[in-house]
């Protein structure tokens, strides 16, 4: 069983296809792992055991009949609880959606099913993806498998932790300001935010529509590329979906070639406020890439310093509107319906009871930023600065092929440490937010452990829109160099949970 859960998705798929292993065996091994460790990790909000095993059996049958199957057929995948999957509850980590079972399936989830993957269940997240630690989940925090008193990052802490705890071979996340990349950095895993419009948002419960993007999470670069290829591509149900061929991410991950590539180091994303171990591993990674033939160039993106305030106007504005539909009238929680109050009173009582503090904070900020008389000063101004940040990227990409930075200023902090300090929490996304504002593509790859606390550090790679393949080229090159240096994957160093428990 240990061999199965520690195997890569590509290995599992190969063995399932050759019938050395069955998908049912593989699925059961992961379900058993979840049963044994998830009471502590709490990566999952819902485990869809029965249906997962049924899907696995169908895939096995297909393979035994000799039918064509996808490259990840039979491999178990965890789905962030922000996607609809007909028949399974979708809570978005919120009390307000408790008990809601969607009648339809998100495009990303449907593509997993169509490609014969096995959806294990729904993973924990900060409420409506608002947070950087998964502590804002109404259903309790997820713990970091590297150190159980630490956060796994957020909002997609459940997806990242499920990988680091070997509960799933693959996971799907969503990234609005770093919710795939920052948890990847905190857990020593790979997380990719595709180009905005590269993956479908249909069935993804919106946080901020102009920033949200589904993406792959995996334990290694090759697996992430395979998953990326499964979920990406045009979807007519999402008007912001790009109707263009998906870049060859799998080929790029295989080539792992950075010779002659120009890599820009963003001077604004480093220095003061960055942990020494983060800076050290980042610098070493950049040196490694240089040793593989990449040309390293320092690049300035002067407007990146405004990214955080811009983000915290645009995101709350959009989410204040996106979250308006949760009013107790049609689905989910309903409070105060005693036959006495008006519809408005029921809506207010439901929202008061159903939303957590961070969600309310952002709804209030966003409502204010869109109000008549303030719109231009806040939302309007933020959109202008947003375009300046995008222009910084455009100028940088005239000179370099990709940009790099640490994925986050620090390593995983202790559960509870920043929960009462929203600003300190927001700073976790300092490095990742610019790519969401510009709509380009960006990823976090494991760069080693910080010497001071022994916790994972991530290297962020950013590329122009529709150049997602470049991320994989750099990530795979770094991965090869580092695994040969460490004589194995970073996750081989994750403590055995049995010991921690």
């Amino acid at each position: 069983m240990t061999e199965i859960i520690r195997a890569s998705a590509a290995e599992l798929a190969a063995k399932i296809k050759s019938r050395e292993l069955s998908s049912v065996e593989v699925t059961r091994a992961h379900l058993d792992r979840i049963a044994s460790v998830d009471t502590e990790i709490h990566a999952f909000l819902y485990v869809d055991s029965e249906r997962a095993l049924a899907i696995a059996a169908r895939v096995d049958a297909k393979i035994s009949r000799g039918e064509a199957v996808g490259p990840l057929a039979g491999v178990p995948v965890a789905l962030k609880d922000v996607f609809t999957y007909a028949g399974a509850p979708t809570t978005c980590g919120s009390k307000i959606l408790e008990g809601w079972i969607p009648p339809y399936t998100a495009t990303v989830a449907q593509r997993l099913l169509d490609a014969d993957l096995v959806i294990l269940g729904k993973t924990n997240m900060d409420e409506f993806a608002m947070g950087s630690s998964t502590e804002n989940s109404a259903y309790g925090p997820t713990r970091n498998p590297w150190s159980l008193d630490r956060i796994p990052g957020g909002s997609g802490g459940g997806s990242a932790a499920s990988l680091a705890a070997f509960e799933a071979a693959l996971a799907i996340g969503t990234d609005t300001g770093g919710s795939i990349r920052q948890p990847a950095a905190m857990t020593g895993t790979v997380g990719v935010k595709p180009t905005y419009g590269g993956t479908s948002r249909y069935g993804l419960v919106a946080l901020a529509s102009s920033l949200d993007q589904p993406g792959p999470c995996a334990r290694n670069v090759g697996d992430a590329a395979l998953l990326h290829a499964v979920i990406a591509g045009h979807d007519p149900l999402d008007s912001t979906s790009i109707d263009a061929p998906v870049p060859d991410v799998v080929g790029a991950a295989r080539s792992a070639d950075v010779a002659g590539m120009k890599i820009g180091v963003v001077s604004e994303l480093g220095g003061e406020g960055y942990a020494p171990g983060v800076e050290q591993r980042f610098t070493e990674s950049v040196e490694l890439l240089a040793s593989l033939g990449a040309e390293i160039i320092e690049v300035s993106c002067p407007h990146f310093v405004f990214a955080l305030p811009v983000y915290y106007l645009i995101l709350p504005a959009e989410s204040s509107s996106n979250l308006a539909r949760f009013d107790g009238m049609r689905y989910g929680l309903r409070v105060g319906d005693d036959g006495e109050g008006s519809a408005e009173q029921v809506m207010a009582a439901t929202r008061e009871a159903g939303f957590g503090a961070e969600v309310k904070r952002r709804i209030i900020i966003g409502t204010y930023a869109l109000s008549s008389g303030y719109y231009e000063a806040y939302y309007g101004q933020a959109q202008k600065v947003r375009s300046l940040i995008a222009r910084d990227f455009d100028r940088a990409f005239e000179v370099v092929d990709v940009l790099v930075s640490p994925s986050a200023p620090g390593t995983a902090f202790k559960i509870g440490e920043k929960v009462d300090d929203p600003l300190a929490m927001y700073k976790n996304d300092l490095c990742t937010i610019p790519s969401n504002l510009a709509g380009n593509t960006s990823a976090s790859f494991p760069a080693g452990l910080a010497p001071e606390d022994g916790l994972p550090v991530g290297l962020q790679v950013m590329a122009p829109p529709l150049a997602d393949d470049r991320l994989y080229r750099v990530g795979a090159a770094l991965e090869q160099a580092l695994t040969s240096k460490w004589d194995g994957q970073l996750l081989d160093q994750v403590p055995e949970l049995a010991v921690l428990l």
Partner: protein
């Protein structure tokens, strides 16, 4: 109940418009006749079982996303062009944020500062005079669902025990057409407004973009009315009257508002900026939501949709599909029909132009078509409080009735009963004639018997006629017609009476 009853001053309409100059602004919502909704594939058919034409998108379920109906954009552009508007080179949808249970996302996808069509004009003709109406904008939006308030006395939310929600209408494509302030119409303001909505209805029907059924809500009018002492004064405070669901109501509601506001102002009072509701039955408006604490809709560009940038080639292609402009059409058909100015004015005022044109197209003579629409149909429509075209008779049926008269199957008097039968749903005119046994009796044998009976029953009258007083024949003819229940050709009866008594 009514503000007039409460007020001290009660003015006549004539007194009101003698002292004040009305300024109007009309907002017309048009439901498009696209097969599917604005942002999803659900059917837009009217009258289905509640909540059977819904999907995750128009129910606003978490995670669902809108996709623009290209046909709706095409209709919007054609409407804009027909109203002489400029068509935006690039425009976006916006979200209008407010909470209401029949709006499943608690925001409406609409257009705010970037309408698809803007700055146009159109013309209406009233009593031979042409009024130019400026068009501010025409923009696209989605309709809301419908609330049904149960348990209250009024059907309004106030006092209701509970409310039922039907989302079949949620997401139906709407075009909102907003006029610029309509000034200089004086006492004719209510009639000009009616003529404008009537013209718009004709235009939209000719464009084939909407069913324009006011009673089904596919054409809805909100009327903004304000008064000022003199045409040179700045605009007064306006009220916005909603729920005006027929052409007749447009005229009546505006007339009422002008009279009401004039009474308030004459008393030294202040018109409150508010939404008012029109009550068809009592003929008054009552105060609704006050707009002085105006709701802040927090408009912002809809991030789930991409901008619309209609190519100039497409716009020109659509321009080529426009029907004849209403004013030009009016000029043409009236020339062909040869009506007198007085007849023409009556036709336009009755809103019968379309109906007559269609009836003529179905084979009736223009004079016959005019006669039926302005007498039999108009009387029934007025009694039922309906617009002419909603009275329950189609132009084809009117033409058929006329042809039954012309071929002698029925006479004018029997035709009235055929109208009754058609309106009561008894079938086509021919079927009504058959079912009610209305055909004129042309069997001379039966007529002769009736004539003989009448002569026998009225010997003195018969004697007078024999003596040469032919004008006395009327009494016998009347008796025969009575005994035949009107189903006889009176001319033939007269011939038979005189023949017998000569």
């Amino acid at each position: 109940m009514t503000d007039l009853a409460k007020g001290v001053t009660v003015l006549s309409y004539e007194a009101a418009v003698a002292s004040f100059d009305p300024v109007l602004g009309l907002e017309v919502h048009v439901e498009l006749n696209t097969a599917s909704k604005m942002f999803c594939g659900c059917s837009t058919a009217f009258g289905a079982e509640p909540n059977t034409q819904v999907c995750p998108v128009c129910l606003g379920l978490p995670g669902s996303l809108p996709v623009v109906n290209a046909r709706a954009v095409e209709s919007a552009i054609r409407i804009g062009l027909a109203l002489n508007c400029s068509i935006a080179q690039w425009c976006r949808f916006s979200r209008k944020n407010y909470f209401y249970p029949d709006m499943p996302k608690n925001y409406q996808i609409s257009q705010y500062d970037e309408p698809i069509a803007h700055d146009g004009w159109t013309e209406v003709v009233l009593d031979g005079e042409t009024y130019r109406i400026g068009i501010e904008r025409a923009h696209m939006e989605e309709d809301t669902g419908k609330s049904m308030h149960v348990g209250g006395a009024t059907g309004r939310i106030h006092g209701a025990a509970y409310s039922l929600l039907d989302y079949n209408r949620s997401g139906v494509p709407l075009i909102e057409i907003v006029t610029k302030p309509i000034e200089g119409t004086g006492a004719k303001a209510p009639e000009v407004a009616r003529a404008y909505v009537s013209m718009l209805r004709d235009l939209l029907r000719a464009l084939d973009v909407s069913n324009v059924r006011m009673e089904q809500g596919s054409l809805r009018c909100d009327a903004n009315v304000s008064l000022r002492r003199a045409p040179t004064d700045p605009y007064g405070t306006r009220s916005e009257t909603k729920n005006v669901n027929s052409l007749r109501s447009v005229e009546r509601a505006i007339r009422y508002e002008i009279t009401r506001q004039a009474a308030v102002l004459s008393d030294g009072g202040r018109v409150v900026q508010e939404t008012r509701h029109w009550h068809e039955d009592s003929g008054v408006t009552t105060a609704g939501r006050s707009k002085e604490t105006a709701e802040d809709y927090r408009y912002f560009p809809e991030p789930d949709l991409v901008p619309i940038a209609p190519s100039r080639e497409w716009v020109e292609e659509l321009r080529g599909t426009l029907p004849e402009p209403p004013a030009a059409r009016l000029h043409r058909v009236t020339g062909e029909w040869g009506f007198t100015d007085l007849e023409l004015r009556d036709v336009i005022n009755a809103g019968a132009l379309n109906a007559i044109e269609a009836t003529v197209a179905a084979g009736a003579s223009p004079q016959a078509a005019r006669k039926w629409w302005l007498t039999e149909v108009a009387r029934r429509a007025n009694e039922a409080g309906l617009d002419l075209e909603d009275a329950g008779v189609t132009p084809q049926q009117v033409a058929e009735i006329q042809s039954l008269v012309e071929n002698g199957t029925i006479n004018d008097r029997l035709a009235r009963q055929v109208f009754d039968g058609v309106i009561d749903g008894e079938g086509t005119p021919a079927e009504v004639v058959k079912r009610r046994g209305l055909a004129v009796v042309s069997d001379d044998g039966a007529l002769r018997e009736a004539v003989d009976a009448a002569i026998a029953a009225n010997p003195e009258v018969a004697d007078k006629i024999r003596a040469g007083k032919v004008q006395a024949a009327g009494a016998l003819i009347g008796a025969v017609m009575k005994s035949m229940r009107g189903q006889a050709d009176a001319g033939r009866v007269r011939e038979l009476v005189l023949e017998r008594l000569s």
